[in-house]
């Protein structure tokens, strides 16, 4: 069984999907725990770490380098989580933090705007126009963050093994489909894949130590 990462636009049902999968497959479901682990490594607050993923750096190299330290801390914390076994990660940038590793199933979840708006208009009593603006702003920030940090388009299906659209698929069906994919042999964490993850974890840990010990 693989590590599963879920990428999505804001309010697309990513947490609910992750929890469904975790329940279905018997995996831990993580996001905030990874941020907490990263914050502890850096001696900063979780909000500091979260903020570095939610707003894109300017194009000054210094700002990008500063951002990279935080990304490295989250990557290290995630790899430590992966070392304990399969999990479902629905935090930010999963498809990049575990890039090029075997044994990872990369999912992108998309949902129609109306579905996303409903969370804000129904549960948070936001007006429709304000809700649309909020979603647009968050989406634009994330797109920009990925473009600046990785030079990629976060919405490109080529970055993922499977893109799932909740326009007609129910959350339960999305969960079933992904569970089916997770059981396929090409996503199995082989001994080789496990060794590669561990080697990367050690390298990230050493690099992070080098960056933070100089401060």
């Amino acid at each position: 069984m693989p590590i599963i990462t879920i990428s999505r636009g804001s309010l697309s049902g990513g947490r609910a999907l992750a929890e469904c999968l975790a329940d279905r497959l018997g995996y831990p479901c993580v996001a905030a725990e990874i941020v907490r682990g990263a914050a502890a490594k850096l001696g900063v607050s979780m909000e500091d770490v979260q903020g570095k993923f939610e707003t894109s750096p300017g194009l000054w190299a210094r700002l990008v380098r500063d951002r990279e330290k935080y990304v490295l801390a989250v990557r290290t914390a995630l790899l430590e989580g992966c070392a304990e076994g399969s999990l479902v990660y629905h935090g930010l940038a999963g498809q990049f933090l575990l890039r090029d590793l075997r044994g990872v199933l990369r999912i992108r979840l998309i949902a129609p705007l109306d579905v996303r708006l409903r969370t804000l208009t129904d549960h948070h009593r936001m007006g429709r126009e304000a809700a649309e603006e909020f979603i647009r702003d968050v989406d634009n920030e994330r797109r920009r963050w990925v473009r600046v940090m990785y030079g990629e388009d976060v919405e490109s299906p080529a970055l993922y093994d499977l893109t799932v659209n909740l326009r007609t698929l129910s959350l339960d069906t999305a969960c079933e489909v992904i569970a089916e994919a997770a059981g396929q042999p090409q996503y199995e964490i082989t001994a080789e894949a496990r060794a590669a993850m561990e080697a990367l974890r050690v390298a990230c840990h050493e690099r992070l130590d080098a960056l933070t010990s100089g401060e």
Binding site: P157, D161, T163, R167, L169, V177, I178, A181, Q184, Y187
Partner: protein, 257 residues
């Protein structure tokens, strides 16, 4: 992928046959129809009544096969041809260019990598442009599909298995309401073919919807001196088997302002 799904689900499978049958119904060679649908359209082609007739013919042919509810269609723009229909699972398969080039070279050993790459890019560009001009959509937009499956890591068998699993879920159950919708869709398509077959009416941008024998025709129509346009449209629709009532929802305009 289509063959795997059809076998696994026990569904009939269709591809190019739909375009070929549509061509026969129009009395034109299939190659001409396929070229019209797949060709790079010019800027004004969207408004070409002939191109509209081709699209309507393909849609109507597909509707005849889809009325039973179970079908795997792997022809061009399937998702857009049946857009809005219930119980329709729309898939896109993608793969890195290296994999696609290799597949083409395996199919035809006479083709080298460079030629294969150029061919694939040309076909992609042509299809993308056609969808953009005819439907105003970006063929690469994942929002157009229920699932986008990347064959970089997924095998065709794996893609087939998870798609079959989706189809077996409750929201894809075939029931009377779904069958009624498919009948309505077929009827609306037959009416659209009838309108597109008339030399005068085919120049108008009209569309049709149906519900239980009642057909509503919408769009724009020119005011003519004869004042007979509305009657002509109604008569064409009424002549289609299965149509009980016709309502017009037209915006009339002066063709000589």
């Amino acid at each position: 992928m289509a063959e795997c799904l059809a076998k696994r689900l026990g569904y009939p499978i269709l591809g190019r046959e739909v375009a070929q049958e549509a061509a026969r119904s129009l009395g034109v060679p299939a190659e001409l129809l396929e070229r019209k649908l797949g060709d790079r359209p010019s800027r004004w082609s969207r408004f070409s009544s002939l191109r509209r007739a081709y699209v309507v013919a393909v849609q109507a042919t597909l509707a005849e096969y889809a009325v039973g509810g179970n079908l795997v269609y792997h022809g061009l723009a399937g998702g857009l041809l049946v857009r809005g229909l219930p119980r329709t699972l729309c898939l896109r398969l993608i793969a890195p260019m290296e994999i696609r080039i290799k597949a083409l070279m395996d199919e035809d050993p006479a083709v080298d990598a460079a030629t294969a790459g150029v061919y694939i890019r040309d076909v992609d560009e042509s299809r993308a442009r056609w969808v953009r001009v005819m439907y105003g959509e970006d063929i690469m937009d994942p929002g157009l599909y229920d699932l986008v499956i990347n064959l970089e890591t997924m095998t065709v068998e794996g893609a087939c298995a998870l798609t079959a699993r989706a189809v077996r879920q409750p929201e894809y159950a075939l029931n009377d309401a779904v069958l009624a919708s498919l009948e309505d869709f077929r009827l609306a398509c037959r009416v659209k073919v009838a309108l597109a077959s008339d030399a005068e009416v085919r120049t108008m941008e009209l569309t049709a919807t149906a519900r239980g024998g009642e057909v509503v025709i919408s769009g724009e129509a020119p005011l003519r001196k004869s004042g007979q346009t509305g009657e002509r449209i109604v008569a064409l629709a009424r002549a289609v088997q299965g149509v009980d009532r016709v309502r017009l929802n037209l915006e009339w305009y002066d063709p000589y302002p």
